[in-house]
Structure formats: C-alpha cells, structure tokens
Symmetry: C2
Subunit: 146 residues, 2 copies
C-alpha cells in the first residue's frame, strides 16, 4: 500500500469512517499517476481492472480525498474538472490546449505572491484559486500552421 493510501486510511479512520475496499480502490487509482483524471476516467479505469465501485462512490470518495488534502480538484473550464494528487507535487497552474485537450503545468511563484497582495488590498481571505490559460499548445500551434 502506497504511503499516500496509508495517509488516506488514517484520515478516514480519524474521521470515524470505514476504510472500505471501494474507498481504497478509488484512492489507489488516483495515487497511481500524476495525470489529471476526471471522475469518469477513474470510474472507467476501476471497471477495467475489475474493481467494483459505483459512480456515486467514486464521486463521494473523490470528495473525501480532496477533504483529506491529499488530492486537489482542479477546474479546467467548460464544466470539466479533474483530480490530481498533491504529494511531491507543489502548487502550480495550468495551460489548457483548446485543440488537443492537453493540460500542461507551470509554476510562477511571483503570480502567487501577487495574488496574495491583491487579496490583502481587497480585505479578502483566500481559500484557493484557479488560474488557467487557454490556447494552443506547442504541438498544435505547428499543426494548425501546417
């Protein structure tokens, strides 16, 4: 069992909940990659590997994973949202290709700092934020030109 799964188990038990096989399988699926997975993909992968977990349980467990702080839910625009685990994966924002759908990450610490200042100026207490840049990735830029 991966250390992240261990941590999730601890979180679940500390909350007085049960660490069921369904919850475990959803967690392991999410922790198995650093890709940006949406709920439906998690469900499909689980089905293909024989784990049985319903759509409702997948959504419910993803919420728990987010609550545990081990997973972040990101909004990719147009109603799309995805999950990625945060272990060994510092905060970043996303470049979203509107042609091929690729999601690339970027870090810009100064942007984070400037956001904090903007909040201070407005007397706003930030809980989280979402920054997406939409456009053409390097690959699609070429193929559109060609």
């Amino acid at each position: 069992m991966k250390p992240e799964t261990q941590q999730f188990m601890k979180f679940i038990e500390t909350k007085g909940l049960l660490f069921t096989t369904e919850r475990k399988s959803v967690a392991e699926e999410v922790f198995s990659t650093h890709d940006h997975l949406d709920a439906e993909e998690v469900l499909k992968k689980l089905k293909s590997t024989g784990s049985k977990a319903s759509r409702a349980t997948v959504y419910r467990t993803l919420d728990l994973l987010v609550e545990s702080g081990l997973v972040e839910k990101i909004d990719l625009g147009e109603g799309r949202s995805a999950y990625e685990h945060t272990a060994g994966h510092p905060h970043h924002d996303h470049l979203v290709c509107t042609v091929c759908g690729e999601v690339r990450e970027f870090e810009e610490p100064l942007i984070e700092q400037l956001q904090e200042w903007a909040c201070e100026k407005a007397g706003f207490r930030a809980i989280g934020h979402s920054l997406n840049i939409y456009g053409w990735c390097a690959k699609c830029k070429l193929s559109v030109k060609a």
Copy 2:
C-alpha cells in the same frame, strides 16, 4: 439606443445576419449594467420586462455578443459562468466569495505580464485565461467570526 447596442447592430449586419428585436433586447439587457449576469438572469429579466425571448435565443445571442468582442464570458467555477460587457471596462480577474456569492474585480497588470512569460517559456500561444480567487469577502469574513 446605447452606443454598444449600435456597435452590436453593426456587427450583426456586417455578418449578414438580421438585427431582430430579440437580439436587440438581449443586448440591451446585457449592456444595461456592469454586473456579472448569467444566462438565466438575463432570461428572467427579459421576461419581467415583457420582452419575449426564449432561452435558446438568449444563449444564442450571448454567443454572438461574445463573438462581437463587446461582451466577455467569464467562468466563475462550479459550472457557473457569467457575462459582462467590456466597454470602458478593462481586463480584470475576480475574487469570488464562496459564502455570499459576491464577485469582486481586481486588476494586477504584472500578473498578466507573468502569464505571458509563462506561455513563452512553454511555447504556448494563449487565447484567453481565467483567474479566480475563491474565499471570504471582507463582509463575510466579519460575519463568520462574529
């Protein structure tokens, strides 16, 4: 007729489309305020003022307004999106209060600049972006404490 409505009429006609009363009434509703309106609000307002325009026409006309460049569609997270007109309203990003729903604007030119650099570094051609900061507005911060 407001100058923005005039411009929209011009846009519509240049495209070879008809400037119908429905399209006019949707445009005037959007241009009547600088608030962040969602499609359903536009529809409701139109109904209350006696203008008849169906949901489908509201959505279709909002798309045209965005295409004209006179209106921007913004993504407020959780599937919410809103429209605001851009005339005399330079680009800005949003502080979204997760308690009362208030949407406050802020400008941070340096953030915009840093985004451009991030795109350059990644060979990414940006078309647009969305930056929302979620949290408690100044007012809700107080009432939560109290």
